[in-house]
Structure formats: C-alpha cells, structure tokens
C-alpha cells in the first residue's frame, strides 16, 4: 500500500496545543515539510519564542532553543555565527517580532544574518489572551484597545515586510497567507525559498504568514478566515517585497 | 625599595607614554610595577595624569596619595599635586610651562625648561622624554643605559628617526 499522507519527520508525534482553527498547525507542518524535503533535520536548530508557539520546541523534531520574549533573532545570531554550517530558523509571533523584539529583528536583518525567520502575524497577542499587538489593525477591538485601536492614542500598526525590505541585509521579505489551498501552496514555496536562501548563503529571509486567532478574535474558524481576507489583506497586502541577496560587498 | 610617581600635565604631552615607559622598564628589570591612568572624558583633552609604582615588594594599592616623585608639566598639575609629594620626595617641573617655584623645604625641586629645550633642538613633542632623562639623572630608579635601551627596543626599527629623537631627548635631559 502506498502512503499518500504522513506526518513529516521534522514534526514530533505530539498533539499540538493550539486552538481549533488556529493556523499555527498549518505553518508548523509547512516548515517541517520543507526541513524534510531539503534534508535538514540533522543540521537544523530552531528557536522558539514567547507567545502561542512557545512550546514549538516540543513539536519540531530537531534541536530547539527556547528564547526570551523578542530575543529569538539574537539567539539565532549566536547559533549561526558560532556554527555557520547549521540551518537556523526562528518562529515568532507579532508581539515577539514587532514589539518587544523590534531591535533584534531589525538589526539581525540589517546585519544580513543568514537565518530564516517565520513570522506569524495574527494582529493580536494570543497567549496572554487577546491584547493589542503592534500589528493590531486600526479600529480593531482587543482587551487593551476595548474601544478599538485608535491611531491618535495607540498609533498605527507596523507593516514588517515593507519596513525590512528597505534593509541591505535582507534577501527575502515576503508576505503569505494560509487561508486557502492556493495560498497554502504558495506559503510553502516561500518558506522553502527562505530555507534555500540560507543554504545558499543569501542572507536574512523572512516569511510573514497572515494568521488567524479565532479564540481571541471571537469568531468561528471559517469566519476568522473571512475576517483575515476582509480586514488583514487590505492592510497587509500579500506579496514579495524583496527577493535578492543581502548586500555584502565591502567596497 | 618602592618608588611611587605621579605624572601629570595636559592631554597630548605624552604623560601616559612617560608613565608606561617607566612601568615597562621596571617590568623588564624584573620588578613589580603598576600603572594607573586617569580615564574618562578628561583624557579627551584637558588634564591627564597617571600613577606609576616600581617596587621590589608586592604592590598593594596602585593609587597613591603622597608620591615620591611628581612630574608636573602644567600649572594646574603643579598646584594640585605639589602639596601632596612625600617629604623627602622630588618634583620635576617643566619650567617653560610652569612659572612658579615650590615653597616647600622638605622636598627637592628640579626645574627644567623641557618644552623650551625640545623646541630649540627640533624635538617638539619630546619634552616628556627630556624630563625622563632628567629623572634618570636625579634619581637612582633606573640605569640610564638600560632605560635607553628598553625605550629604543620598544620602537619599531622602521621608525629610525623616532629612535634618534628619543635618544637625543633623553640625553638632553640627562645632561641638563
């Protein structure tokens, strides 16, 4: 009998703790499939963040490090700089990557650290129960923006890929979604490219995945996907903002 | 025997160089030495000083309130440290830049117009080395020949002109 669908080797046989309808599971699987397909399981070190994916070290079947909130790119820098032969990826949420860890994100990007960053943007702090994130949309209600995010008070959300695409150290800055099969296929293509870039020594590669948080958004899984299409995609357009190679010319 | 020294002047006069050269020579002579510089914004212009100790014993405190020798290369340094010199100690003043004499009778004061001598002899910037020559003459801290040899050996051979200038400055001070 032919196996047509199986758990990727790069995922452990542990039930994920994510809420129903959360897209973390899909993204975990895509990353694991890419690690399998590129034959990287034995030489990969993953860095888990603080956030909903804090337990990612239990799910990926490679060496894993649990970093402090926001510091994953700095930890990844330490791993990659001491062991350039390893493949190093971080898996971070929006609060982690774009609020508390903004400096680490921007500076590892501008240094052209040859690492792969998977960025889960769901416009909210999931783990702590639905607070305002740096990517929370204008008008979006969260527990810490109960009257809706006001640009006058809380300011505007950050478009991470657009911002990072201006940096010379960035090889790939791309935004994908996993709301439908077509987008899932494209997301995997981009994740694979982000890992391949690292193998090829091209520099900092980030894949931003627009994700859902049905629990904290207060929506059903299908309504959450529709909310993502209706509200997130206009503010955070899908697409590739940079696809080249980090500038490393000293001249 | 223990000799404690404070070198003090303005940034750019080679105060730190003089102190380091004393400490290095002591080390080559197999003595215990410490070199404690002033640091921070003051080293970016303004006053500069350092404390050097050369001793046959283990050195405790690297900072010294009452030095045996004071090398003063500007007036503020003279005013600040002259009262602190240990009774029986010696001060060396660049009399080109310090228009003042010590009123103390319990210390020996040596006045040498080092900056003037340097300028007259094509040795601008070597006033500190001229004073080093004078220290070797007036104290028995180091042998003149040995000190000169160590100083010369620390300069790369490619900088022959520098070697000659240092030698000439030491000699000028020693024989002043």
């Amino acid at each position: 009998m032919k196996t047509v669908f199986d758990r990727p080797q790069a995922l452990t046989d542990v039930p994920l703790h994510y809420c129903p309808g959360c897209t973390h599971g899909i993204v975990h699987r895509l990353v694991a499939e890419v690690i399998d397909e590129l034959g990287l399981i034995d030489t990969t070190v993953g860095i888990a963040p603080v956030g909903c994916s804090v337990f990612a070290y239990n799910y990926f079947n490679c060496d894993m490090i649990e970093a402090a909130h926001g510091r994953a790119p700095a930890v990844a820098t330490g791993v990659k700089r001491t062991h350039p032969e390893l493949t190093v990826f971080t898996y971070q949420g929006d609060g982690d990557l774009a609020a508390i860890g903004t400096a680490e994100t921007v500076h590892s990007a501008t240094r052209g650290e040859n690492i792969t960053v998977i960025f889960i943007n769901n416009c909210i702090y999931g783990m702590t129960g639905g607070q305002m994130a740096p990517t929370t949309l204008p008008g979006q209600v969260t527990t810490t923006s109960p009257y809706g995010r006001s640009r006058k008070i809380q300011g505007s959300p950050i478009r991470v890929c657009e911002m990072l695409s201006t940096l010379d150290g960035v090889a790939l800055a791309t935004r994908v979604a996993v709301d439908c099969p077509k987008n899932v296929i494209n997301a995997k293509k981009m994740i694979k490219k982000a890992f391949q870039n690292q193998i090829d020594g091209k520099g900092f590669s980030i894949v931003e995945v627009l994700s859902t948080c049905p629990t904290n958004w207060g929506l059903s899984p299908t309504d959450a996907l529709q909310w993502l299409r209706d509200n997130m995609m206009p503010y955070y357009p899908l697409g590739t903002y940079k696809d080249s190679e980090a500038v490393r010319d000293d001249a | 025997m223990t000799t404690t020294m404070i070198f003090a002047g303005s940034g750019g006069q080679g105060i730190q160089f003089s102190g380091k050269q004393m400490a290095k020579t002591g080390m080559y002579m197999d003595k215990n030495v410490t070199f404690l510089p002033s640091y921070g914004p003051e080293m970016r212009g303004g006053t500069s000083n350092c404390t050097v100790i050369v001793s046959d014993e283990e050195i405790g405190s690297p900072s010294v309130s009452n030095p045996d020798l004071l090398i003063a290369m500007n007036l503020p340094s003279f005013d600040k440290f002259e009262p602190a010199v240990k009774a029986g100690g010696t001060i060396f003043c660049d009399s080109t830049l310090i228009d003042k004499k010590s009123a103390r009778e319990d210390i020996k004061a040596v006045y040498i117009p080092a900056t003037g001598l340097a300028n007259e002899n094509g040795l601008a910037g070597f006033a500190n080395v001229i004073i080093l020559g004078k220290i070797l003459k007036e104290t028995c801290i180091f042998d003149y020949e040995a000190f000169t040899n160590f100083l010369v050996s620390s300069i790369p051979a490619t900088k022959a002109a520098l070697i000659e200038k240092n030698k000439k400055a030491l000699e000028l001070g020693y024989n002043y």
Binding site: T77 | A23, K24, P37
Partner: protein, 353 residues
C-alpha cells in the same frame, strides 16, 4: 622565566579569554570596559574568531545565549548599567544551564551614575542579577594577572558546573596596567557538552535548551537539581586569600582593588604595632563563609572595606554570625578609598577593642 607583558586589565581579560578557547565575543560599548571590545575586535579575526558588536546589551547577552547553547565557549562584557540590561538574558542562561562568561567592569551607580571604579554591583552579582532562584559563579580579581587567570578559571568552572560565571572587576582594574604572565594559569578538565543544540547529525535524539516548565512540580525539581550543583560548587570551589590573619586582632575583609588598598594599609598599621590582617574573597559566590567563621573564633573584630555603601558586609555578618563585631568602611560613587583612610578607620576601631 615566562615572558611577561604589560597590559591593561581589560586587555588581559580579552587575551586570556582567547587563550582559553573563547572565540566568540558579543559586546556593546560602555565605559570603563570598552577596551575589551576593542581588543577583541582587533584580535578575533586573527585567530579565526568573531567579535560582534550587538545593537544593545540585551541583544549581546542573547547572542551569547545562542552561542553557549551550541556548546561554544563565548562571552560578553559590560559595565554596571549594561549588566542591568543583560540581567534578563542572564536569568534565561542560568535557567537553561548554559556555561558562559559575563564580565562586569563596575562603575558608580545608581542610574547613569559615573564612570569611575565602584564595587556597588556586589548585590547585583551575588543576589539580583536576574529573576528567579539562581546563582552565578562570581569571581573577583584584584590584579591584572588575576583578570587573566580568573577569566580562564571562570570558563572552566562554568563548563564543569554548567552555569554562567561572572568576572566582577572594576574600572580601576580594567584601566590599570601590570605585567601579566599568560602561561601561569592551569587548565582544568571539562566535561563533554552532550546537551548542546548543535545539530543531531544522525547521532542522537534532539536536544532542547529551555527554561520553561509549566508544571510547578517539574520546575521545582529542575531548580532543586540545579541547587545540588550549586552546593557542590560551594563545597569545592571557594577561593580566598588570607594575609597576615594568624595573629590579627582585626581582620579587614575586602575584594578586588580594595583588597590591595587594605594590604598597603596593613603594612602601615603593622609598623604602628596594630595587629591587622586581611581576608580577601576571590569567589564572591560561593562566599568564603567557613573561613570567616573560623577567623571569628580567633580575631576580635572585622572591618569590611568596600567601594559601596556596604554590600558585602552583609555576607560577612552572616558568616561571622554574631560571634564578633563586624564594622564597615566604604567610599562610593567612583571614589577609591585611600590607604590613609583605611589606616585611620582601622586605628579608630583598634582603640575600641
């Protein structure tokens, strides 16, 4: 005779680290420790290593965490306010059981404080360098030679006990120059780092470097296991120097640069007929409690001399445990106590005995 070199304390730390096999340095400039970064930046490329200037102290300590997680010998250095910024990362490193070296060349505080030497991070180093139940190995050099030898020792201890080590120096030691002999310190056997996250390479199951334990019982057990290692360290690795304590009526207790000032003071006091000795803790944690307890049976009084408002004095009191009076003298804010001041304070104390 081995060849000695005249070096700044900061440079001696850097050179000793490289000589100890540390090929990765992550720093951020701050006075009075910047020479460590500068020396590393010059030397590392020549020995095939890396000196990386981070965007902040926070990033530097996390880079160090990543490097240490792979089993590489690595270090960071800073000065007081910078160490405060690193304390988050230090706690994670302790919670992940990662060996590495953190250097603090102390300056005056609190706040921006000043840039002159200080010992007012004693509490920070021995009590409060990060949240949670944790200890650091804290080594306090008092000469440029020890800046080098204790750097080497710190790396070995960190590897053996699988925990972070701190070299607690101060601005005077960092800036002063003394002869150093790099061949004068021994190297210890260190265990293989089987726990490192450096790729499975088909040889083992995955390793996880982590400080998160959601189950309180599991977390408690993890912490207890760590404290068993701390206990071994306390049993085997306490270091101190005793100086003229045999017949001393008064024992000065001082570490780092202050201990040297005390030695000079002792020379003068002995000449004046006052029997004074010195106990110099070299490991501030583990603290030399036992020897202080023993000295308490012999001597009449203790005087803790510090460049702070009195921090180590608490540990001296705990060790002496009320057997004899423990007094304190200190200068702070970047002021180095003078030999004369220590002499006069000790004389005052001697008169009361």
């Amino acid at each position: 005779m081995a060849k000695k070199v005249l070096m700044k304390g900061n440079e001696a730390i850097a050179e000793a680290a490289i000589a100890s096999g540390c090929l990765h340095f992550f720093g951020y400039p701050i006075t009075p420790q910047t020479e460590i970064s500068e020396y590393m930046a010059k030397r590392m490329p020549k020995v095939g290593g890396l000196c990386l200037q981070a965007e902040s102290e926070v990033a530097a300590i996390n880079m160090l965490m990543g490097a240490a997680a792979t089993g590489s010998r690595a270090m960071t250095s800073s000065s007081s306010p910078g160490i405060a910024l690193k304390s988050e990362g230090i706690s994670y490193i302790a919670g992940c059981d990662l060996p590495c070296l953190i250097v603090n060349v102390q300056r005056g505080g609190p706040g921006l404080g000043g840039i002159q030497p200080s010992q007012s991070d004693y509490y920070q180093a021995t009590r409060g360098v990060g949240h949670g139940d944790l200890r650091l190995i804290v080594l306090a050099p008092s000469s440029v030679q020890e800046m080098a030898s204790l750097t080497a020792e710190a790396f070995d201890l960190a590897d053996i006990y699988r925990m972070p080590a701190m070299l607690l120096a101060d601005g005077a030691l960092g800036q002063m120059m003394e002869p150093v002999d790099f061949e004068a310190f021994p190297k210890r056997e260190t265990p293989e780092k089987t726990w490192a996250t450096n790729g499975m390479h088909g040889k083992r199951a995955k390793n996880i470097v982590n400080s998160l334990y959601i189950d309180p019982n599991v977390l408690e057990n993890t912490v207890r296991e760590r404290y068993e290692r701390y206990a071994l360290l306390e049993e085997n690795e306490v270091k101190y120097e005793e100086y003229m304590t045999d017949d001393a009526d008064i024992v000065l207790v001082a570490f780092g640069i202050t201990a040297r000032i005390c030695k000079s003071a002792i020379t003068e006091l002995r000449e004046a007929g006052i029997k004074v000795g010195l106990l110099r803790p070299i490991t501030l944690w583990p603290f030399p409690k036992k020897v202080l307890g023993e000295l308490a049976d012999k001597t009449k009084a203790f005087l803790s001399v510090e460049m702070s408002m009195g921090q180590m004095v608490d540990d001296v009191k705990l060790a002496v445990n009320g057997k004899k009076p423990v007094h304190f003298f200190g200068r702070t804010g970047g002021v180095i106590p003078s030999v004369e001041e220590v002499v006069s304070e000790t004389k005052k104390l001697a008169e009361t005995l």
